[in-house]
Symmetry: C2
Subunit: 314 residues, 2 copies
């Protein structure tokens, strides 16, 4: 079944820009719109560059559109810590969907150097959930901490790998391993597939005792539409499992959201406080002059910064 | 010239573990050891998986060893947000250097889910600087925000790219662009080199007005030791430029360090405060029950959390 969207795409795009630019009032908007819409399925798609994530996203959109579902897509860019700009302009292979009133696609960049991507992305995903999309897809390029943070709020995370990426894939596995709900071996016609499959299976077997959900491994060739049916089945299986497994998984996701939002907002506040008093400038110059060092400065921070939960005093 | 190290490798390894595990007293150790050692050259090496960063690191170590310099290497893993374990064990192609008393190699994983990699890595690099290595190399796998954070403290950042990585390289450029001090096109015998070089040069030209230092582009085939001489020259050029260009570059790096350290430590403190009062548990359950939502909870956080700089009241 398809739910109606409570907002047209133009208004949605404007609200997302408001979130991205951290403009006054965006949180009030979110507060009044927020709906814990358990019917929305959020799919995260991550993996190293060159794995074919965009082609795969494109295929998944088509599958859900064939089922009559509305789809919202957020493509996250590791963009500049300085300019804050996003540049997914040239990745619009997804433009097939541009005229489809059931598909909304948005790319997101970083929101300044302090907050990082995760908090703003989480806000946008919450907004799109509340608007009532049947399916949300969040795609990230990269394999670092912020990708892990973003993925931690998705119901189902597809880790897209590709044969022959070299030894680095070894190094990636541990970090990304535990956020992968489904392993996708894309470009499965390339050399090195058997080696990659063996590595993935070894990792899964080694960690089996820790899993609540054992991640399946699906082979695809997204550009030729191969294996997409099996992938959709795996996503459906995962979704059923989530519904049956109760609220613990959900709770963890909400706690993760809190951490990112709270850190983001308090971080800004404290840096503003320290900047406005010239403390950062003073410490920095002090370190260059040899008057102090970073660890003494942190000690001073500990001594002088007091954090109070005011409700206690009532 | 080579400076003497003030600590043997065993003691150094123990201190690093203390930092990684956030064990009591590590900051006091750092405070007493800290030395703003301007003679240490810190080189960051980053880029997407499969670019050949480890081979390149290996070659650079050899070059500096031939000059009689001591070299410390920190290899940063995007490791598990849950277990906190690092797994660079199988990447020890660098084991050539294992018996060399002038080379210290250490891999680092994440320090719990809150702090992220950047703060601990910065501490370890500060420690190794104070110990007196001539050259420090920090290698990260990935292209996300935490890689940008780690790289922001290196004097010279090599962005290692490789021909034929696909369209995603486009998406990477903006984020990583501004941290690249030297572009390395490795595996320069592969198809697609001209295209990649053209793309890099276009980006450099478009941004020329913003650069203080215009990043050179160096072609290498690390596994065959080709282009390494030119790369070493570029690193030396960059180093000379840094020395002449005064303290502004340095100041920015110190401010970056502060942000990460301060956010890290205050983040832990506040999450502990909220956890100890059962506030997070209460909010989480409230969201699941529909009593509240994340934005109302943040509003409550704003209202009730007070941050005071105590020195003001003296």
């Amino acid at each position: 079944m398809t739910t109606d969207l409570i907002m047209d795409f133009r208004s949605l795009a404007k609200l997302i820009s408001k979130i991205e630019n951290n403009r006054a009032g965006f949180e009030d908007d979110l507060m009044s719109l927020y709906k814990e819409n358990s019917e929305t399925l959020t799919i995260g798609i991550t993996g190293p560059p060159g794995a074919g994530k965009s082609s795969l996203t494109d295929r998944i959109i088509k599958e859900y559109r064939n089922l009559g579902k509305t789809v919202g897509v957020v493509a996250v860019d590791p963009s500049s810590p300085f300019s804050g700009g996003a540049i997914l302009g040239d990745r619009i292979r997804m433009s097939d969907h541009a005229s489809d009133p059931g598909v909304f696609i948005r790319s997101m960049g970083s929101r300044g150097s302090l907050g990082g991507l995760a908090p703003a992305t989480i806000d946008v995903l919450n907004l799109m959930k509340s608007v009532g999309f049947d399916v949300l897809i969040v795609e990230t390029v990269g394999v670092g901490q912020s990708e892990i943070d973003v993925m931690s709020i998705a119901d189902t995370v597809l880790l897209v790998l590709v044969p022959g990426l070299g030894d680095d894939i070894q190094a990636l596995k541990a970090g990304i391993m535990e956020i992968a709900d489904i392993f996708v071996v894309n470009k499965a016609d390339k050399d090195g597939k058997e080696k990659l499959l063996a590595e993935i299976n070894m990792i899964i077997n080694l960690n089996k005792h820790r899993f609540l959900w054992v991640p399946p491994v699906v082979e695809t060739i997204a550009t030729e539409n191969q294996g997409i049916g099996r992938l959709m089945d795996s996503i459906a299986d995962r979704n059923s499992w989530l519904k049956e497994s109760g609220t613990d998984v959900k709770k963890d996701k909400i706690i993760n959201q809190f951490k990112h939002k709270a850190m983001d907002r308090i971080g800004y506040e404290i840096m503003n406080l320290l900047n406005s008093k010239g403390i950062i400038e003073d410490w920095t110059q002090g370190i260059i002059d040899g008057r102090t060092n970073p660890y003494s400065a942190m000690h001073e921070l500990d001594k002088n910064l007091e954090i109070i939960w005011k409700k206690d005093s009532k």
